[in-house]
Symmetry: C2
Amino acid sequence: MRFSAPTADQQAVLTHVVGIEELAQTERFAAADAGTVQAILEGAAQFAEGEFWPLNKSGDEQGVTLKDGEVTTPDGFKQAYQAFVEGGWMSLAAPASAGGMQMPLALASALMENLNAANIAFALCPMLSLGAVEALEAYGNEELNERYLGKIVSGEWPATMNLTEPHAGSDVGALTTKATPNDDGSWMIDGQKIFITWGEHDLADNIIHLVLARTPDAPAGTRGISLFLVPKILPDGSRNDLACVGLEEKAGIHASPTCVMRYGEKGQCKGWMVGDLHGGMRAMFVMMNNARINVGLQGVGLAEVATQRAVAYALDRKQGARGAIAEYPDVRRMLLRMRALTMASRALCYYAFACLDRRAAGDEEAGYRGEVLTPMAKAWGTDVGVEVTDLGVQVHGGMGYIEETGAIQHWRDSRIAPIYEGTNGIQAADLVGRKLGLDGGQAFDGLIADIRANAQDERLHALCDMVEQTAIALRSAEADHKMAGSYPFLTMCSVLVGGWLLERLARADDATDATKAASAFFNASIVPEAAGLTAAANAGAELLYSVEVEALA
Amino acid sequence: MRFSAPTADQQAVLTHVVGIEELAQTERFAAADAGTVQAILEGAAQFAEGEFWPLNKSGDEQGVTLKDGEVTTPDGFKQAYQAFVEGGWMSLAAPASAGGMQMPLALASALMENLNAANIAFALCPMLSLGAVEALEAYGNEELNERYLGKIVSGEWPATMNLTEPHAGSDVGALTTKATPNDDGSWMIDGQKIFITWGEHDLADNIIHLVLARTPDAPAGTRGISLFLVPKILPDGSRNDLACVGLEEKAGIHASPTCVMRYGEKGQCKGWMVGDLHGGMRAMFVMMNNARINVGLQGVGLAEVATQRAVAYALDRKQGARGAIAEYPDVRRMLLRMRALTMASRALCYYAFACLDRRAAGDEEAGYRGEVLTPMAKAWGTDVGVEVTDLGVQVHGGMGYIEETGAIQHWRDSRIAPIYEGTNGIQAADLVGRKLGLDGGQAFDGLIADIRANAQDERLHALCDMVEQTAIALRSAEADHKMAGSYPFLTMCSVLVGGWLLERLARADDATDATKAASAFFNASIVPEAAGLTAAANAGAELLYSVEVEALA
């Protein structure tokens, strides 16, 4: 099967949802003129199709191996990564001050989506570097950034994010990795981190680890955490005291090394603080925020490639009197559902980034909206990824379950995304716990008001009412009730925003038939389904605590 | 993790949903007295926990291998299968005339559920034999049954179902395997079959293949198909001309050999017709009907074990201020949802079998109801399996994606069930295309009337209204509109029946707290969600054909 990047659909989102032309009129994004945008979209398509996609299946089959602390990536990965760096793709959205092209994140979305669609395991490597660029840009001191930022921005030295420890996952504050000050301003790092994506590999000469750790006498919990930059190779060219001591065996993303990292086995692991003492969580959120939307784009990318594959199969596979199975209503239902969910989640993720772009260009209000949209983009984008790849398997029938076909790889690969970068449950908690009240509640309410003013379909309006009423109820509810309804509420909100943006795409003069059909299907089927979540979102926590958990075993 | 068969919950379903005591008063099931039922439930639990479960993970890891036409099963499988045969488990529901214990299928459900929970890959072997027993019992001639039925019933010679060919999947009528008559009443079989579960293995001395094939000058399509019994070892002790020529690599059920079977490579593959010339489809439906509910029970079994695993993990895993993650509302929501879906789908599947049991005991009306329930049991049961195992992965967070943990195996294993034995889309088509009109529509309407008379929760009544109105609309709709709404309609119906039966369980005097909470959650959250499918079920086909499928790529 040939993956074909959805350039025209991406262009439509950039034009009608992101407002890329408007963004290009700001000083910050002046370089994003129409010609450049077009060239980048086409180049990103070509690169993903030509370099990453051919390695997707072989990478899954071959996987990564660990021997004597060295991680070997699948055949061809090194060359493809080299091409990625040489093409300048890593620096697309990085600020000019750091050597980047300073393009909008919303435009970089198209690149990331394509890389994810073409080879999600591979795309994780640059994705994590992006977070590091943000963190260093915001908090790194001049000396540190002088030494590392340019190399990370160029892609020469990929970066990693080290948060999780065996007993500190969603509860980051429980981490125990220690940082002890040296005389020269550097620190000694000592601890073990798990689930470190691309923590060790053979793609580059150096790897820059950003590591959360606890300084001596730091306060307990998240308030006592600081962030450190820990390079694999020290400035003097010697090897730092850090190593990959294990690789996880996972259900998917086989070509992405998920490492157990040991820092300071010999007490000689050197790092430098990024930002303030005990400022680790702030820096981490900077790292994670964009990463969250990018994980949403993993769902979108996988949904896109799964849809393309399913459509191709449904047109090719003949069964029964109608010929191609694409001619049967229930198969059409699945294909149109796949396309509708893919388009709507794409619009949502790009839009979330566009709001952050507007903040970077000076519009603080848009920035708040971006923050409201972030948990939706992450959670719903990745839920869509799992659902659409699942439907893709189903369209293939018996062939879908066979590895040779390829459809099931997308499904296996998709399942990590609702988990990492903050589980989707954490996203839902973020939405009701923090984002509903952001900027005095105006960030959320302004979004709803815009949808009400702009959406046309009556079913969208009905859902809008339910979302608004639920939001009012959740705001005044006790914490447990809020959390009890958080997940269904997040889905309702996401479907509302996705449906609204998809409708906007369908109303454009140059809307394709597929977009129109997708929007019509979305409003006819998916929006009423989301409305069906209202009861669950308002159900409260009492029932959840009416039984001992032990009794559920 | 220790799997513990849900004996008490199964007993409750047998008592309050199946009406096992009533069944035991019929002549057919006179042997199913309370003491026997209890002993069987306990024995089935012990067997699944002690023999199948310990091989679940190792079987997944080791998988099956093919060498020189011989399939080697994972370590321990041969001994466990021997124990299965010696325990007499295979013959539980087979008629006494065939050497069986003639227990109700509804009771055998508990055994099958446990086997599926403990080791779905392994459980597929006996499951397919069950279908063969039904087919031979109904259509095999005396001589053939004399030779084979007893051995299949005992489990000594497992049986297989051979339907699919590369170009004949859901469209069975397209198959091209040929059967040519010999002088002695036997036939020569020539063709290739794919996706043959447990088509070849080392568990037994002989394997009995039931093969659909086309006789010379047979009419095209399904009307020209006949069924043949094709033993691996011929009555004279010589090897028949058939072989496993390939094994599929799948995303799950690794310990179950999925074979490409070649019949008659040397023109010497001998078989015997089962039933009438061109009566293959009828026989196949007999084989498949019970298999469909048993596949639903695969979903139930995997949901059960995934729920147990998730509850154990959520109680053990500490994160944040509340201690165990089970104390967080959204985790509770997931756990209660898992338990509720598991209980409701169990009740539905057992109930479907109970209706078929009543038919066997002389109640034809109940038999029609069983036929109405069959597509729901298969499709919704397997959808529940995928959803609940997916939630189980999510409860585990990052550990969920790691193979070592075990949660992801259930998810991988679960994904085949919505596909085989008739895809869930085929089930939905069966529901609206055939079952809605069965017995002049009385079978379906009678079920709805019973629910209306018996259910108490107002949300169940609201859903009942929507199902009824949708049924009226679909009955009078054109075929394409019917099919367009079939899948959401099937889900609505299944949730209605499942919710009704679960409520019945919760109302029993001896109902557990977990059952009460599960039913309350089901009515509060899952029933309103299903009501949200009403629009999709009534949306019609027009929209689906408003766009060229090619444009969705």
